[in-house]
């Protein structure tokens, strides 16, 4: 948006932003990537589940069914889905507060995810975390972190433990473009490279740090920060699930084999506001519409139907099944109990009889 260019100030202004530019997607076909028909349907199902879950979550939020924050991942589903496809199930994932998609992609149920939004005991974090703090350790999903950049060292720590134990697992640490500006990133990059930690740092550059366009908050290309530490890095198209699968398969292989970190800048776009009360007046409708043309779910649907890989009714079946699954999840969440009052004092410490000061 054109701002008063003549005004003197600090943060750059006066530019009509196109907040993020997508690099070329991979040219590899599904065959080349080793994806079977079943895989393609799974990819569609995973992405559509994340999308539909969040649409209904937004609706429930607007109906006032629950409080707190709600940051939606809509538009970015190819990343969570592609990464989960590319990595091993016991590789460790950790992300920031836009975390619903990752939990669902990693196999958390719609029920437990919806119940967490409603603050119910049956929630994925027993109602103690809320939207921003989903955890599913049995699926090697480490959360759900809401202090911007504070989980970047945690990601490196997960990798540290994996290397210490020699277990061949790779840790992937996701964060938004706003987190790149935190000191924690630079300290962690330094140590990760120095100590050769098996970790992939991923900035999901969706163009905005809350309402500040990336050009206005970060000097230089994000991925180039890694150059300062001699860390391998690249830019990836985040609107195409094949590209994500392609790149992460290659990078994970390198990390596993050579025990060195990577930094990937994945260019993507969030369709929704930063949170539910964001009118989005820092960006243009045109920009939003342009990115919606690259929608990852539509893109995959078009691919499979043009190549006649699946029948229309197979997609239909998934769509309506997921629609119902998410409605059922709302019922599940509403019918579930809130945590018992005693839960207030549980899980502060490992022991539940800690002598709290009264």
């Amino acid at each position: 948006m054109a701002k008063k260019a003549e005004e003197k100030g600090f943060t750059p202004t006066g530019v009509v932003y196109q907040s993020t530019k997508l690099p070329k997607p991979t040219s590899k076909t599904h065959d080349k990537l080793g994806l079977k028909k079943k895989d393609l349907l799974n990819l569609y199902e995973s992405m559509y589940r994340q999308r539909r879950f969040e649409e209904r979550a937004a609706q429930m939020y607007q109906k006032g069914k629950f409080g707190g924050f709600l940051h939606l991942y809509i538009g970015q589903e190819a990343i969570s889905t592609g990464v989960v496809q590319a990595l091993n199930d016991d590789d460790d994932l950790i992300t920031a507060y836009r975390d619903h998609g990752f939990a669902l992609a990693r196999g958390a149920s719609s029920d437990e995810c919806m119940a967490e939004l409603f603050g119910k005991a049956t929630g994925i974090s027993s109602g103690k975390g809320g939207s921003m703090h989903y955890f599913k350790l049995e699926k090697h999903f480490w959360g759900g972190h809401a202090i911007v950049g504070a989980h970047i060292p945690l990601g490196a720590g997960l990798a540290f433990a994996n290397k210490y134990n020699g277990n061949d697992r790779v840790a992937v640490c996701f964060f938004g473009d706003g987190a790149v500006d935190q000191g924690s990133l630079n300290e962690t990059f330094n140590m990760a490279q120095l100590w050769k930690l098996p970790v992939i740092f991923v900035v999901e550059n969706n163009g905005y740090s809350m309402g500040t366009a990336v050009e206005r908050h970060s000097a230089g290309d994000l991925h180039k920060r890694a150059d300062a530490y001699g860390m391998k890095n690249d830019i990836v198209n985040g609107m195409d699930v094949f590209t994500i699968i392609d790149k992460f398969t290659e990078v994970a292989k390198d990390v596993r084999k050579n025990q060195n970190p990577w930094f990937l800048e994945v260019r993507t776009y969030r369709y929704r506001g930063h949170s539910m009360s964001d009118p989005g007046n820092y960006r243009t409708k045109e920009e939003l519409d342009e990115f919606k043309q690259t929608d990852p779910i539509e893109r995959l649907k078009t691919y499979v139907s043009e190549k006649k890989l699946v029948k229309d009714d197979e997609i239909e079946e998934i769509t309506s099944r997921i629609n119902q699954e998410v409605l059922d999840a709302i019922d599940f969440a509403e019918e579930s109990d809130f945590p018992e009052p005693e839960a207030l004092f549980h899980d502060v410490y490992a022991e539940n009889d800690f002598p709290f000061v009264k």
Partner: protein
């Protein structure tokens, strides 16, 4: 009983636990090749190698967080801060991640980590290097806080801290590292958290003192004894959990209490102990509780000002005189 220096007692605890449990490792600034800024980790690199004794860059935020991440993923890190004054740079990792992730994950995440290093003032080091942090960490649910005063306690409590499944803040003192004391020879000697120790018995006044201030209290008690005042000294040893029971028992006997505390007065340890005493031992008090703390100002550099700032036996004796109605 062997006589060890405070630093040797801490080292012994770490070495024993690292031999016992492969998942325990030490990291921090200068812990390996330099042999420890205060020689606490001397010789450990030689025994355990670079995999388990790890020099970090000066990146408290980064390595605190890597420690927390490693603890989440099954290891039991000991993170040494050169002093806790530097831990403030990485305190987000302690307060937001170490202390809260178990709760926010509904109990899924366990973070068995020890953050240890010297705490509080150590002579004329200026304001930023002289802060006693036990009250600040004690304020945060999810953390346990330990501040031993003697080598024997230090060893037993550090071994307990390393085995604890929660994040533990283990506070030491540069000025106490050379202090010698009896350390149990007992194999696998540990001291449970939340158990205070009456270290001097007396009937006239209870002095509650921990960490470095414990020694100030002992000096004051010696002086007071010359005047026929017998002070009972209670060393809580752990700040969180805090053993109020032992303190209250002692006050029931002596009816008077002085708390000696190196934190600042507002929201300090003495404030909390004093509150609990008035609530739970009201009918046993013969005088208002007194506290001896550093004043509500940063540490000064100038020698004369610093001496005014840091509590000594004189202030403790004055406080005891006040509660025993001796002028």
């Amino acid at each position: 009983m062997a006589e060890l220096q405070f630093r040797e007692a801490i080292r012994a605890a770490m070495v024993e636990e690292m031999r016992r449990d492969e998942s325990v490792f030490l990291m921090g600034e200068e812990v390996a090749e330099y042999d420890g800024a205060y020689k606490v980790s001397q010789g450990m690199l030689e025994e355990f190698g670079f995999r388990r004794v790890i020099d970090t860059p000066i990146s408290e935020l980064g390595f605190s967080g890597i420690g927390v991440g490693a603890a989440m993923n099954g290891l039991r890190p000991i993170v040494e801060f050169m002093t806790f004054n530097f831990a403030v740079v990485g305190i987000d990792q302690i307060i937001n991640n170490a202390a809260k992730l178990r709760y926010m994950s509904g109990g899924q995440i366990m973070i068995p980590i020890v953050f240890r290093g010297p705490n509080a003032s150590a002579g004329q080091l200026g304001a930023t290097h002289s802060v006693a942090y036990e009250a600040l960490y004690g304020h945060i649910p999810g953390l346990k806080v330990v501040y031993p005063s003697e080598p024997g306690d230090a060893k037993g409590l550090l071994k307990t801290a390393i085995r604890d499944d929660n994040p533990v803040i283990f506070l030491e003192s540069e000025q106490m590292y050379g202090l010698k004391g009896e350390v149990s020879d007992e194999e696998d000697f540990t001291i449970p958290f939340g158990v205070a120790k009456v270290k001097r018995e007396g009937n006239d006044v209870t002095i509650v003192a921990h960490g470095k201030m414990y020694h100030v209290a002992q000096q004051a008690a010696k002086e007071l004894a010359k005047d026929g005042i017998e002070a009972e000294i209670v060393d809580p040893r752990t700040i969180k959990p805090f053993d109020m029971k032992t303190v209250i028992e002692s006050v029931k006997k002596t009816n008077r209490c002085v708390i000696v505390d190196e934190t600042h007065p507002f929201c300090g340890i003495a404030a909390e102990v004093g509150f609990q005493l008035q609530r739970d031992a009201f009918d046993y008090l013969d005088a208002p509780i007194q506290r001896v703390t550093v004043p509500d100002v940063p540490a000064p550099f100038a020698k004369n000002l610093f001496d005014l700032w840091l509590p000594g036996p004189k202030q403790v004796i004055e406080a005891v005189n006040a509660v025993t109605y001796r002028s």
